[in-house]
């Protein structure tokens, strides 16, 4: 693998600012802190939603943490081969929800601000939770099945977080 290491040291690499995860010697071995954003082009879910969902997922599992820098809209759109405005829209929604933060130099960081406990977030969360659960109940899901499902999802999120 050393045959592709041209420089000896990574002194001034093109990174997304603070490196996500641990290492300084990355880009050399396959590690877990390479995050995948995958868009299903056949899906009915709009692309900007899918991008947002991927990032939220990575935040939930702890693969993206406070202060981690995300690629610019332009960069991510050329990596994904999707329109610049689509990525921008995804970032705007995440930013509005308080999950990421765009500073004056257009640098996009994961904010790590915990909104749980604030009035708006709490009421919004309860409203969404109610909607989703009502949908499940009206479709005939039993109470136990729903509770089980929630447990399992929570487990999978925290497990992924532990393995990072």
């Amino acid at each position: 693998m050393s045959d592709v290491q041209v420089g000896n040291r990574r002194t001034n690499s093109v990174s997304y600012g603070r490196t996500i995860g641990t290492g300084r010697n990355l880009g050399r071995s396959m590690k877990n802190n390479e995050l995948l954003i995958a868009i299903d082009l056949a899906s009915e879910v709009p692309i900007y939603r899918q991008i947002g969902n991927c990032i939220v997922g990575h935040i939930a599992t702890g693969k993206l943490g406070e202060g981690d820098i995300l690629p610019s809209s332009r960069r991510l759109s050329s990596l994904l081969g999707v329109n610049y405005h689509t990525v921008n829209k995804a970032y705007e929604i995440l930013s509005r929800d308080g999950l990421i933060h765009q500073d004056r130099r257009k640098k996009i960081t994961v904010s790590g601000r915990k909104l749980a406990g604030t009035k708006e977030m709490d009421s919004d969360w309860i409203r969404r939770q109610k909607l989703l659960l009502s949908e499940a109940v009206s479709n005939g899901f039993a109470r136990d099945t729903i509770m089980d499902g929630i447990e399992k999802i929570m487990d999978s999120i925290s497990q992924a977080g532990d393995n990072k």
């Binding site: 040291r9 001034n12 290492g23 880009g27 995948l36 299903d40 990596l79």
Partner: protein
């Protein structure tokens, strides 16, 4: 000398389909069922053989006719060769397109687009960008030291046999003009490209996105250093030919100015074989479970498989589909400006020189 360059180009050209990723062949994105399939392998082999044959004919014609029609050859032949070679490519491009159409229904995996973010990054030290500037400074320093020894009237152009046929009167402008107005812009241009190349996104490859991203990062880093190396050689070559006009080297040494450039060609070919376009040959031992998703079909943005024109894509530079290296997104206005730059530089140098003479 010219024969050497022609042979090199012939080999490079015949091998291109072996250098581009197996899923991008003759400018076309192949569905998984066609990757390294017998049909494609057969087309590749035929292309290589025809290409070698065509090159052999061109080189033979060149050798036979050179003594008789040297002037005519030099002005019109390169254009004819480019056309012949393009049509050979295009013929095979069409064959692969037909092949793809015939299996189109068989690959119905949903298409996915993937991006890898995070720790994959280019492993370069940007301080190396300074090295060519040190080199240019040294050349200027040598020029300043040698300045008193340059004759009042010195030759600026030589015939093939090495006899001077154009002269200039000694002045700071006539002595350093070419170094300043050609050497410096070339360095700026190549360094700009080498820095921009670091951020070039890989081809979409949804089957193994992580490996592809990692290979591309390594490939971009290698190109960064290779471009700097080539720049050093170009500047050296420029300086050597200037030093012939200064009288530092005798005019019979005029050929040394081409030598460094000739050493670069095998170097480029060797790198291409080692990495493959976008680095697809790198890290063969890295294993990523291939996903069942297929990559989006982006053939429509590649005119004839070679010209990239995509308004939706804001990137200026993208990897070539047929060849090793990068090409412009011609939907990006800056690409036209950059293409015009060498012309502008040439025009300036031409004006300078004609004024001096």
């Amino acid at each position: 000398m010219v024969i050497f360059i022609l042979v090199f180009l012939a080999i490079a050209f015949a091998m291109i389909p072996y250098l581009t990723p197996p899923y991008i062949q003759f400018g076309i994105r192949l569905p998984q069922s066609l990757v390294d399939s017998e049909g494609v392998i057969d087309i590749r082999r035929k292309y290589r053989n025809y290409s070698v044959l065509l090159s052999a004919i061109i080189i033979a014609l060149f050798v036979i006719l050179l003594p008789y029609v040297a002037v005519v050859m030099i002005s019109t032949v390169p254009l004819l060769v480019v056309l012949a070679v393009f049509f050979l490519y295009y013929w095979f491009h069409r064959k692969v397109a037909d092949l793809k159409r015939s299996v189109q229904d068989e690959h119905q995996y949903p298409a996915a687009s993937t991006a890898v973010i995070g720790d994959i990054q280019e492993n370069v030290n940007r301080l190396w960008l300074l090295v060519p500037w040190f080199e240019i400074l040294i050349f200027f320093a040598v020029g300043i030291l040698y300045y008193p020894s340059i004759p009042q009237t010195f030759p600026t152009h030589f015939t093939v046999s090495g006899t001077p046929d154009q002269y200039a009167t000694k002045s700071v402008l006539s002595v350093f003009g070419i170094l300043f107005f050609a050497g410096v812009p070339v360095a700026v241009l190549i360094e700009t490209i080498s820095v921009l190349s670091l951020r070039v996104a890989p081809f979409q490859n949804s089957r193994s996105p992580r490996k592809t991203a990692k290979q591309m990062a390594a490939f971009n880093s290698i190109i960064f250093y290779a471009l700097l190396g080539i720049l050093l050689v170009i500047e050296l070559s420029l300086f050597l030919s200037i030093s012939v006009t200064w009288g530092m080297l005798p005019s019979s040494y005029g050929f040394v100015s081409i030598l460094p450039v000739i050493f670069v060609l095998p170097f480029i070919l060797a790198i291409s074989f080692k990495t493959g376009q976008t680095g697809w040959k790198l890290f063969p031992q890295a294993i990523e479970t291939p996903s069942e998703k297929s990559s989006p079909d982006d053939d429509r943005f590649w005119k004839a498989g070679v010209l990239y024109y995509n308004r939706e894509d804001r990137s200026l530079i993208v990897p070539k589909r047929f060849g090793v290296g990068y090409t412009f997104n011609f939907a990006h206005p800056v690409s036209w400006v950059v293409l015009a730059l060498p012309l502008i530089v040439f025009a300036i140098v031409f004006l300078m020189v004609s004024k001096v003479v």
